[in-house]
Symmetry: C2
Subunit: 392 residues, 2 copies
Amino acid sequence: MKDFIYNTPTKIYFGANKEEELGNILKENKVNKLLLHYGKSSIKKSGLYDKIVNILNINNINFIELGGVEANPKLSLVEKGIKLARENNIDFILAVGGGSVIDSAKSISAGIYHDFSPWLYNTGEKILDKNIPIGVVLTISAAGSEMSNSCVITNDYTNDKRGFTSELNRVKFAILNPKLTYSVSKYQTACGITDIMMHTLERVLSYDNCYNPLTDNLAFGLIKAVLEVGKIAYNEPNNYDARATLMWASSLTHNGLTACGREYVMPVHQIEHALSGTYDSIAHGAGLAVLWPSWATFASLKDPSRFAELGYNSFGISRNLNQKEAAKTAIQMMKNYFLEIGMPSTLKELNVKKADLEKIANLYTFNGKRVIDDIILVDYDMCLKILENCYE
Amino acid sequence: MKDFIYNTPTKIYFGANKEEELGNILKENKVNKLLLHYGKSSIKKSGLYDKIVNILNINNINFIELGGVEANPKLSLVEKGIKLARENNIDFILAVGGGSVIDSAKSISAGIYHDFSPWLYNTGEKILDKNIPIGVVLTISAAGSEMSNSCVITNDYTNDKRGFTSELNRVKFAILNPKLTYSVSKYQTACGITDIMMHTLERVLSYDNCYNPLTDNLAFGLIKAVLEVGKIAYNEPNNYDARATLMWASSLTHNGLTACGREYVMPVHQIEHALSGTYDSIAHGAGLAVLWPSWATFASLKDPSRFAELGYNSFGISRNLNQKEAAKTAIQMMKNYFLEIGMPSTLKELNVKKADLEKIANLYTFNGKRVIDDIILVDYDMCLKILENCYE
């Protein structure tokens, strides 16, 4: 078991209609003037926008607003947010939405106190030392940014998509009302399920094969629960318990819990960032659903042990099957699961051009500057193999 | 799934020799003058006391000290601590020890700002609204107070033992070095294992039978891991991974994670507090090991469903066994486990006098003022039945 730091300061308010407590929660956080940050039209259509504006007004909380965050949140909007926040002496950001809105809020928060672009945090050229606090009203169960220390931004000047981590990226509070996710489409629900599973899969299936039964049981148990409720939520969008379990899983899967004492590097996430950095239309979860089985096939051929544990613990595969067979079966069962919830299984289905695969592999390597050494070494050549293997 | 608030602000520094980072951690916490609080002779024998005093001196951190905390920490020492802390303008408490030392520190911290006795928090007559921050260097895996919101104190003027919960009871940081627990005796290790399991058992085996597969999988997975590593740590005291897993489990089992979305009331803990409140010599874990199977037998006769889940998920009992059979088998397996790690199985072994059972039952009910309505209603009569059933 490896050394670790566990830091999850985000206070979670979980339950139906919990956003109604927002006024008191903001007062507890001593908010003076906030930036209300959100995405496109969905929160206006659902009535959530009006509800929140009403709560802010009733509680005499000053605010300005900035909507328009897109999937794969853009640096140009972040820059606009920073300018607006500085001009209005904003001391808090309220992000109402999913991972994109939260990450955009994190980047605005990170950019306020310094003259340089917050993109330099994403490239690793600068280390975040000061930002302003953020609160969240979550509307989709997927990215887990509401409890994570990460912030993924797309630089729309260069088409580069990168994440950075900092403990300062942890938000102060997150309000999780499962009912707010009833209106999420089947496709976006499935993308979320995939992302939720992947955040733990990429932690637990790592090169680090240390004895760590507690973290393993928590991780495989989380995946097992998501497999179970994912199908229910997909087929019955208004099933409260299924939506609630997905929502709580989305937070726990990316807050660090499922990797305590185990090292990991998340290679599939990094390939996917290059993919959806190149194709803005690709939803992160859909990209992961296509890429993971391809990566897993190569990785399990080198060492099936962790994949076999996934099979035994999350899919209930009998321990009578040896590691190699169990690994193969587990990967096939995961592929089948993605198909059952309507996820694509090839890059072709995602309208990726074959001619672009080299470009994506090159972006993955930061133009030849990065390889990721995991169960298998993922360099340019291996990245290209993984992409070609799931092309059609 | 029920509504919940999840709040775990305690920052965990986990790993071998992590206490060496204490100087920087205290500086990050902007400590001006601290109270070094500890138990009896063990940290002096082990050299930990000298190590910590040295770190404080090297880093020019002012401190005064108060040792002498006993198992079942006493109100009289808490009062001494409050006086000392006020006289010396203490703004931080560093608790070096296990649950007793941490709870004593929590009570001192809670008592500093008000003229009334902090015991009034434990009786529920006062609500905690202000205290000073606490940091922990943990030396035994057991009570989980390092991440919990609870504080259990024994009023040595009245022989009453009571706990109270408050989010202000959460400590700022906890340093978890598994090697510091190598020297914990077999008996105390087993008491700790029992307490660790019981904190999740009493959450997951509750009257609240709601559909909550994520929390169930985390809870039953934690118990399964503790069953596995508990035996290893008991038989090989210097096994790092086993000690590390127990230590991390002790924190997670009592921080709220294993009950998110499920209501619970912990009746066995309350009976045990009456027991060890009456017999100061009884270790909390040993009391729980005796009481739990007796309570579980009565409760499972009324409703075996949750006990069966324990059997299927933590003990690997086949789902071919029906709920009633699985519940009975699970309780028997737990009893056997306690015996294997040297725990007592009767109150007689703990030198409890039969004539005292009514007194204990009366103390449990706060002299007729309390019953706990769980899977079974535990009133005075049922409490007495549970005690008599495990007397010999």
